[in-house]
Amino acid sequence: MKDFTLRVFRYDPESGADPHYDTFTVPYREGMTVLEALVWVLDNLDGSVAFRYSCREAICGSCAMYVSGSYQLACRVQVKNALDHGVVSVSPLPHMRVVKDLVVDMEKFWANYARVKPWLINDQPEPERERLQSPADRAKYNMEIDCILCGACFAACPSGVNNEEYLGAHSLTWANRFIVDTRDTAKKERLDLVSAEHGIFRCHTVFNCVEACPKHINQTEAIQHLKKVAFFHRFGMWRL
C-alpha cells in the first residue's frame, strides 16, 4: 500500500459551513497509527484540522474518537487495522457536542467524575508509615485503576445518550475502585452516591462501555458489583 484515504469529520463553528467529511490522501508507512495520519494531514495538507492528542502511547486518554466504526484511541489503532476498502474514517466521539472537527465538549464527563468523590477517604489517624495492604487486596482494584479517563465509554453508553446526568461508566468504575479498596472507610457514603437516581440502576448492562474501552476494562462488571453490594446492603445482608 503506497497511500490511503483518510476521511475526517469537519465542523467549524466559525465558518458557517454545515458539518461534512473531508478526504485526504495520506502516504502510508508500515506501523502508522491513525493519530500519525492526522498529524501528517495537519502538518502537510490542512492547518485547520482540530483534534486532541498528547502522549501518543495510549496512556494519557486525549485522543478517543470513532474510527471506522469503533471506539478507539487514535494513537493506538494502526491504519492497517482501521482500513475499510482503502479508507480510514474518523469522527468525533458520538452523542457529545462538537467544539470543532474531532474535538468534543467533555465538561459533563469531568463533572460527573468529580460527583462520585473519586479520592480515598479514610477517617482513621494516618500512621507514620504506609497503610499495609496485601497483594491480594491490592489486586481487587487492579482493573479499575487502568482507566485513563478517555471518555470512550461515556460516549458509547445508551443510558447516557439522553441523560447526561447519568454518572457514566467511568465514574462508576472509579467509585467501585474505592469501594473495594481496603483502605477506604466511606463505603456507605459511596453507595448512597452511586445508587441515587442517576447512578448504577440506570445501567442496563448493554456492555457498550466494555466494547469501547481501549484499556480492556470491564466497567459493567464493576457496576454490577456496585449493584450487588448496594442491594444486599439495603437489606442488611452486607457488612461494610
Binding site: L42, C55, E57, C60, D105, E130, L132, I145
Partner: protein, 562 residues
C-alpha cells in the same frame, strides 16, 4: 499554578493547605493528560522495604543521586530531595496511590539504574499514571479550581516581579489576562526540540521558553538525557523497569555488551552510560538495521523473565510492544535505541522554586534546582515533582504579597501577544512551520545528540540561527480562533528555537564530558574548569552565558565507576 502535572498539582495542594485563598491551576491539558502520566518505572525513596535494601538510607540515596549526576547536582538540594522522599511517598500512599505491594503489605520496591539498593517504589509499570490520578483526585477533593485547556502565552513581569499571565482559552481562542500575587511554572520538559524523543507531542518547553524571554535565566540546558531504551520506530519509552526486573541488552552478535562498559552494574548502569554504550555498539557496526531508515538498534531481551513475571510487573510494556511494534516480548526481543527523554536543565531556581524574578517560581521538569546535574537517575524525576512541588507551593503561600497595580502591564502584554499572533496569521511570510520544526528536531539530534563535537555543534548552532531568521517568515495557515492547533504550534516554535540555541551554546562552551554531555573532542570530565553550572540569559542576539559554582557539602567528586 501553570501546569496540571504532578509538580503543578502538588504545588497547588501545598499552597491550598497552607491557607492561600485563591489558588488556581491553569493547564494546557486536563491534568490527567499531563506527561507525568507516562512515567512508568517508579519513584525513589529509601523506604528499605525490599529484603536487599534493609541498610538503605537517605544518605545513600543522596550519594547515588550525586554520583549519578556526575557531581554537578547541588548537594544541598540533593540532600533535601533524598531526606523528603520517604515522607512524600508515604503521603501519596495515604492519599490512595495504588502502589504494588510486598507480601507483608508494604510498598514494593525494585532495583533501578545507578542505585545501590532496590529503592524504586512502583505501581506495576504505570507508576506515573497511578501517582498523577491520585494527585488529581486530591486536588478535586480540595475543590481547587482548574482551568483546563488554557495555553499561557506570556509571563508578565513588572518592575522585576511577576505580575500575571497572558493566556488563551484553547476551545474558544479568546485571549485574556490574569493578575497573580505569585506564579509557578510546572510546565514540563522540552523533549520535542529533538527528533527521536520519548516525550509526548506537547512537550515543546513552552514554559521554560516563556520564562527565558521574560528575563528569567535558565540553567544547565546542555544536559539532555537520552534514555537507553526507546522503542525503535516510535521511540516510545520502554521503562528502565525492564532492566530493573532483569532484562538483558544484546547486540547483533548476541553479546550482553554492557560487560564492556559497566562490568559490575551491567544493564543497571546509569542512563547516560547505558545510552552511550548502545550508541557505541551501533556506531561500531554491532547493532541491527545498521544504516537503515530509522537508525540502528539493539535488543532488549525479556524472554527469560517468563510470561507470568512480565504480566505482573511489566504489563504496559507488553501492551505497547503489541500495539506499536506488533511483537510480543514474551516471545521476541524488543528493538531499542537511545531516545531523548528528559531535560535536566531548566528555569534556574532554588529548592523553594524561587527564581531571579520575585513572585515567580518553578518546579518539576521545567525547573533546574539542581538535583539531577549532568545525568538524572531513573525514579528521581517523579520524586523531584512531588518534593519540590510541595516546597514551592508552601513557599508561595507563606511569602505571598499583593500583586499591586498590574492592570497596565497586563494590558500592554496582551496587546503584544495579540500583535504577535496577528503577525503569524496575517503576515506576508511563506515559511512552513512544520517544516522548520522538523529541521530543528533533526538538527538537534544530529549535532547536539548522544555524542558531541565542536565542529558538528558549531554547524548545528549555525543551523539554529538560520532557522531563527526563517521563523520571521512563518505563516499560520488557519485563521480561525477555535482550537487552532496550527497557531499554537507555530507560536511555540519560537520558544523551541530559543531553547535549542541555549542548549547548543551551552554545550559548545562546555569543553569537557560530564554525564549526558559527551564530547568526542574533550572525552574527560574537567573539574578544574567545569565543575560549575551554566546559566544562560536571553538576549535578542543569543544567550549570554555565565557560570555558578556547584554546592558540594558531603561528597567530593570522584571517578564514576559502575
Amino acid at each position: 499554578m501553570v501546569g496540571g502535572g504532578l509538580a503543578g498539582l502538588r504545588a497547588a495542594i501545598a499552597a491550598h493547605d497552607s491557607g492561600a485563598q485563591d489558588v488556581v491551576i491553569i493547564s494546557q491539558l486536563p491534568p490527567v493528560r499531563s506527561h507525568s502520566v507516562a512515567a512508568a518505572g517508579g519513584i525513589n525513596g529509601s523506604l528499605a522495604n525490599h529484603p536487599d535494601s534493609r541498610d538503605d538510607s537517605w544518605e545513600k540515596h543522596m550519594y547515588d543521586t550525586v554520583k549519578g549526576s556526575d557531581f554537578l547536582a547541588d548537594q544541598d538540594a540533593a540532600e533535601v530531595m533524598a531526606r523528603e522522599a520517604v515522607a512524600r511517598i508515604i503521603e501519596m500512599e495515604h492519599w490512595g496511590c495504588p502502589f504494588s505491594r510486598n507480601a507483608d503489605g508494604t510498598i514494593a520496591q525494585r532495583p533501578f539504574g545507578g542505585a545501590g539498593y532496590p529503592r524504586t517504589c512502583y505501581a506495576s509499570d504505570k507508576t506515573g499514571h497511578a501517582l498523577l490520578h491520585t494527585m488529581y483526585q486530591q486536588a478535586l477533593k480540595r475543590g481547587i479550581r482548574i482551568y483546563q485547556e488554557y495555553l499561557v502565552l506570556e509571563l508578565v513581569v513588572r518592575d522585576g516581579r511577576a505580575a500575571g499571565l497572558v493566556l488563551m482559552d484553547i476551545l474558544s481562542g479568546q485571549l485574556g489576562t490574569v493578575a497573580a500575587g505569585a506564579v509557578l511554572f510546572a510546565t514540563g520538559g522540552a523533549g520535542k526540540i529533538y527528533a527521536r524523543s520519548t516525550n509526548n507531542l506537547l512537550n515543546t518547553g513552552l514554559g521554560i521558553a516563556l520564562a527565558y524571554r521574560a528575563g528569567v535565566p535558565v540553567k544547565d540546558m546542555e544536559f539532555i538525557q537520552f534514555h537507553p531504551t526507546g522503542l525503535w520506530g516510535t521511540n516510545i519509552l520502554m521503562t528502565e523497569g525492564c532492566r530493573g526486573e532483569g532484562g538483558y541488552l544484546v547486540n547483533a552478535r548476541g553479546e550482553r555488551f554492557m560487560a564492556r562498559y559497566a562490568p559490575k552494574a551491567m544493564e543497571l548502569g546509569p542512563r547516560d552510560i547505558v545510552a552511550r554504550s548502545i550508541q557505541t555498539e551501533i556506531n561500531e557496526g554491532r547493532g541491527f538495521n545498521q544504516g537503515g531508515p530509522g537508525g540502528g538498534y539493539v535488543h532488549l531481551d525479556l524472554r527469560h523473565l517468563g510470561e507470568a513475571r512480565i504480566n505482573e510487573r511489566l504489563p504496559e510494556v507488553r501492551e505497547i510492544c503489541r500495539n506499536f511494534a506488533g511483537l510480543d516480548p514474551v516471545q521476541e526481543p524488543i528493538p531499542v535505541q537511545p531516545s531523548q527523554h528528559y531535560t535536566m536543565g531548566g528555569i534556574d531556581c532554588s529548592v523553594y522554586g524561587e527564581t531571579a524574578v520575585a513572585g515567580f517560581y518553578a518546579a518539576g521538569e521545567c525547573a533546574c534546582v539542581s538535583v539531577h546535574g549532568a545525568n538524572r537517575l531513573g525514579g528521581n524525576s517523579l520524586l523531584d515533582t512531588i518534593v519540590f512541588g510541595k516546597l514551592a507551593g508552601d513557599r508561595m503561600a507563606s511569602h505571598l504579597t499583593p500583586a499591586g497595580e498590574t492592570a497596565a502591564a497586563l494590558s500592554e502584554a496582551l496587546a503584544r501577544v495579540e500583535a504577535r499572533l496577528a503577525a503569524l496569521t496575517h503576515g506576508a511570510g511563506t515559511e512552513s512551520g512544520p517544516a522548520l520544526r522538523g529541521e530543528l528536531q533533526e538538527g538537534m539530534f544530529q549535532h547536539v545528540g548522544v555524542f558531541r563535537h565542536e565542529a558538528s555543534m558549531t554547524e548545528g548552532l549555525a543551523k539554529i540561527r538560520r532557522l531563527r531568521e526563517r521563523y520571521a517568515g512563518v505563516k499560520v495557515r488557519h485563521t480561525g480562533r477555535v482550537f487552532n492547533l496550527d497557531l499554537m504550534q507555530q507560536f511555540e516554535l519560537q520558544g523551541m528555537i530559543d531553547l535549542a540555541e541555549a542548549i547548543a551554546a551551552g554545550a559548545l562552551a562546555r569543553r569537557e564530558s560530564r554525564g549526558s554531555h559527551a564530547r568526542r573532542d574533550y572525552p574527560e570530565r574537567d573539574d578544574a574548569n567545569f565543575l560549575k553550572h551554566t546559566v544562560a540569559t536571553y538576549t535578542p542576539d543569543g544567550p549570554t552565558l555565565t557560570y555558578r559554582p556547584v554546592s558540594i557539602t558531603r561528597f567530593q567528586p570522584e571517578a564514576r565507576k559502575y
